[in-house]
Symmetry: D2
Subunit: 129 residues, 4 copies
């Protein structure tokens, strides 16, 4: 079987369309409310975290191939539900992400935070979101 | 200011590249370990959930524009950290997502689960992931 | 087998002691760091949420006995890890909880918030924590 | 002001009673559905995690007094919502916790798992919950 198209050849819209079709074919729009989808994302995020729970931060950089495959699936679930929420809310995800990144660039100027964790900058006076 | 490119014109690779540059310019690769990023995704997912916590499932479908803007930012954070984790793990997200969707299609045949929630199918005998 | 002592006859210290003994007998203090325990609580919280994910808020009030038993176990896991974190941090949980409740009572005066959800009061101007 | 009673002199029932009174005085039983409370616990768990997000596992053992005070408040929130859920579900928490601990003792025999993380035992063949 041929590989599906990769990150260089796949737009956000293409993935959103696949997720929308999956949901519509099952008549699952009724369950995919924003409230439920936010819970789904949080649940999948916890399943992802579970893989790293007892690892040191350093060990989490050196994963066995089998662990990596499972972790990829958990990450995929998070992305799938995020795409479904974007569909439900009629949000353009590329624009939303790029707008948030522009905000983050202003909030964390490279020259100021270089090599310091978010936590450090946090304590200098963090404004919300 | 012109709008950033939209979902139809943005590939996963373009967003991954922007996130990678943001992290590298701040020398934050040292903090963006898989363990920490899995926590970041879970934390942002909870912030998203917080917007829906006291709403009925139905009310979560009818959001004020201001709430929608805040929710979009939380969703963007989840996607940004997910892209950073894909960068760190050297995962092709488009392929990973499409492979997981193919698995979900086999697991939840449309004709069998149509109009029934995941929960229903769950109790018929759910296999993991 | 006789039932274990109930809520009326069990102090926080008794439960903390049982959890501390469980951890010490397995030499697990090394893994029960505050960072890891905070992840454990979040993971167990997600497992609890999973039981309610596709239910309406109303349906979540009417649970089958079997579901209730599973939900009790997830809640127990959350409490066990919370007790272990209190042990690790050398926190008196009863005093900490009562101090936080005193703060909540000042923050949400009964006459002001009666019958309104947290969300309502939130928008009137919420201060953090 | 005198200190509230400590862990040695406070039963679970006393804390449950205080939480029940707080909720009833605000007429908040209508919002404290099991579904919503499971979300509340997950949200507070994420706020707790946020304090540890960028710390090494080791650094999370050495917290400044100010950080410890904030962390105590987040942990208190988790416990308060857990007590409210136990109230709502009419669960005896002490019995539920002790029953789950008895199960954990059987599942993780001290002589077998001593000094090995949960993760280790996981891979030998973990059964659910």
């Amino acid at each position: 079987m041929s590989q599906p198209p990769d990150d260089r050849h796949t737009t956000l819209q293409e993935l959103k369309g696949r997720v929308a079709a999956f949901v519509a074919e099952r008549d699952w729009q009724q369950f995919h409310t924003p409230k439920n989808l936010s819970m789904s994302i949080a649940i999948e995020a916890a399943e992802l975290m579970e893989h790293f729970q007892w690892l040191t931060v350093e060990a989490s950089r050196n994963l066995a191939p089998e662990a990596l495959a499972q972790i990829g699936e958990e990450l995929a679930d998070i992305v799938i539900y995020s795409l479904s929420l974007a569909n439900t809310l009629n949000l353009d995800l590329a624009q939303t992400v790029q707008a948030k990144m522009a905000k983050n660039i202003r909030k964390y100027p490279a020259e100021k935070v270089k090599g310091k964790s978010h936590k450090y900058t946090w304590y200098e006076g963090k404004e919300e979101s």
